[in-house]
Symmetry: C2
Subunit: 137 residues, 2 copies
């Protein structure tokens, strides 16, 4: 776990990590949230909606932004204030995602940073992009 | 699970549901994401950051937006395009949240709706607010 202080972070600082999306993640997310939508469990239903197979929940993919902030950038002293997320392409079980963040702004008055965030799959396609405002507490 | 079609939804249509945040949810979310940040497991650390106890992950709370869209509004035919989320107050284990969404815009050209979303705790305090753009597929 990283322990960056506000003063240590410069505009352009980048961190990234990789995760593989598993069926167990989808099962756990479904159990937490109660989101029983068939798009995320039924291949036939998902195909009727134009997908290749059942897709990961968008908000499950987005959940790795928690890890990006809380473990990598800034790490321990992180407190997420707000986030904007765009889902660009569906994510499937077996996909390997690279989750990355880059310090895009610093606000000295509030000790907050804004991260530009993105996620790419194993083919290099961008599946998510967005930003997060994070307090370094 | 609801099955609203685009034509059936009018501006101002509201749906809501309640969830209680449990320690098991935090454990499962930590296991999925690998976010080991002590703010979400260590009361003493959380108090050193000005919180009453270890807090729920913001992105865990946000995950219930998946349920709001995928089960309630519009339900089965939901595909989230993007979302903006502001975390207003911390959420703790034992909190009972009311998650609500209201159709704020409709875009006939794309069959998309924009939901204004909010979450309140058992004391009526707003803990999250935001919006979601959702395709009805």
């Amino acid at each position: 776990m990283n322990h960056y202080k506000y003063e240590e972070l410069e505009i352009g600082h980048k961190e990234s990590f990789e995760v593989e999306i598993t069926e167990e993640m989808l099962d756990s997310f479904r159990k937490i949230t109660g989101d029983m939508n068939p798009l995320h469990r039924d291949d036939e239903f998902a195909r009727s909606k134009g997908m290749d197979a059942h897709a990961a929940f968008g908000m499950l993919t987005a959940s790795f932004l928690s890890t990006l902030a809380g473990v990598y950038l800034p790490g321990e002293s992180s407190l997420i204030h707000n986030t904007e997320i765009k889902f660009m392409k569906p994510v499937f079980v077996g996909d390997r995602l690279t989750i990355s963040g880059e310090v895009a702004e610093k606000n000295d008055a509030y000790n907050t940073i804004r991260l530009k965030v993105g996620m790419r799959n194993q083919s290099g396609a961008k599946v998510l992009r967005g930003s997060m405002q994070i307090g370094i507490v």
